[in-house]
Amino acid sequence: MMPFYPVAKITDINPGERKIVTIKTIEIGLFNVEGKFYAIHNYCPHMGAPICSGFINRTVNSNSPGNYIYGEKLVIRCPWHRWEFDLESGECLIDTYKRIKTFELSIQDEWIYCKL
């Protein structure tokens, strides 16, 4: 069984905010987005950017030129080259072979625990 580590109190990360924590030399970004907490490795598989300083956006898609479909998925976009990764699965939207590592979280007694 992989252990869960206490990483932050839920009150440490307000809605829309983020916090970077280090567990055993691994930098992990914790995000509080739209009522849910997410945890991802702070490393972009493209050129190694600290991805957790990127943008949290919803996707913009389309089914014809000039038409915009906003908001289907929640993504983190790299602070460097702006590649998009599904915040839930860590998958890169345009290349599913590339993904950021995501971590399972559990919340108990006001504390966020992260599974390594």
Binding site: M47, G48, A49, S53, G54, R77, P79, W80, H81
Partner: protein
């Protein structure tokens, strides 16, 4: 591995930094918020910066010499950085008023010396000139060209004429005299009084504008070769900054082929264009082409006129930054040394 970064962008925290270098009537204009550069209509929708490059005080990325030194030079073991300003500095050449543009370009050069060169001796820079008046531009090159930390003259790609035209001779004459290469940097196409950003007119999106940066590089390069700039100024060197590298080999195949049959039209072009390029032209590597098949990058290197052509650049602090620790990892040690250091050291006389 030692590195020279040949494209680093810097700016001011506030335009007040320029005040000491402007006299009247221009100082009043600066204070009144007068136009500083010709704008192009193609901003990156998410901003131009890599988002982790903001200094701790929240000022613009690239506006703090000490923070840039730490965040770029120290972190990536960069021995020397060639500063280019921002495309907005280069776009002084796209202002309608030639005298304001010349005053502003001189202020930028004094600002480089006092704000950047004196802060860290790893910074080197590019003299900004306003091309509206090439004679004044030449005087500016001679005014500051002896400063040991100015190592080239820089021009934006946005222009009303391709750069081979004789109109620009005074600039090349001064650059050659001062032993300074001339660099062309993109992203001023279509700005202010410059021609549209593509020969076919105005694209709609930033992705198009950014991708098409290669086209004005090609236009200026073919112009400088065919109009005989390198015959007229045989010691002049040209650096194409941030304009891509992958297009060069097939472009030269086409130009060499045309030259074989059409050289009577341009009889001063006495060598194959690819030989002229090999001798006089260098290209910076960022944004590096990223073919899916890594072998294609090796093949591209094989197709280049020589191993001396490429100069590493990161483009710090912009969004399309190339991380020196991640690029060229599959190239031979010798080629990496050339790209990261030796080619630039030779060009700039370090």
């Amino acid at each position: 591995m030692k590195k020279i970064d040949c494209d680093v962008h810097v700016r001011w925290k506030s335009t007040d930094e320029l005040s000491p270098y402007l006299s009247e009537p221009w100082l009043t204009r600066l204070k009144q918020g007068y136009i500083l550069y010709g704008h192009n209509g193609y901003p990156n929708p998410d901003g131009t910066y890599k988002m982790d490059s903001f200094p701790p005080d929240g000022a613009s990325p690239g506006s703090d010499p000490f923070y840039t030194a730490q965040d770029l030079l120290d972190r990536y073991d960069i021995e020397k950085a060639i500063l280019i300003g921002e495309s907005s500095h280069l776009a002084v050449s796209n202002l309608a008023n030639a005298d304001w543009a010349a005053a502003l370009s001189s202020a930028y050069n004094d600002w480089f010396i006092n704000r950047w060169f004196s802060a860290d001796n790893r910074y080197f820079g590019s003299i900004i000139v306003a091309t509206q008046d090439p004679v004044k531009a030449a005087q500016e090159i001679e005014r500051v060209g002896n400063h040991p930390q100015f190592v080239q003259v820089s021009l934006g790609s946005g222009s009303r004429l391709p750069y081979g035209n004789r109109y620009f001779y005074p600039i090349y004459e001064a650059a050659e005299k001062m032993k300074l290469p001339v660099a062309i940097h993109p992203f001023t196409d279509g700005a202010g009084i410059a021609n549209p950003p593509s020969p076919a007119g105005y694209p709609t999106y930033y992705i198009e504008y950014h991708t098409l940066a290669t086209t004005s590089m090609q236009t200026h390069l073919v112009s400088m070769i065919c109009e005989g700039v390198f015959q007229k100024f045989p010691n002049l060197k040209l650096v194409l900054v941030e304009g891509g590298i992958g297009w060069l080999p097939p472009f030269l195949w086409r130009l060499d082929k045309n030259w074989k049959g059409l050289r009577r039209e341009v009889p001063w072009v006495k060598q194959k264009p690819s030989e002229i390029v090999s001798k006089h032209v260098r290209l910076t590597t960022q944004p590096l082409d990223e073919p899916e098949n890594r072998k294609h990058l090796h093949q591209l290197m094989d197709m280049m006129p020589s191993d001396d052509m490429l100069l590493f650049s990161s483009d710090y602090p912009h969004w399309d930054f190339d991380n020196p620790e991640k690029i060229f990892r599959h190239f031979s040690e010798k080629l990496r040394e050339k790209i990261f250091y030796e080619n630039a050291a030779k060009l700039y006389g370090f």
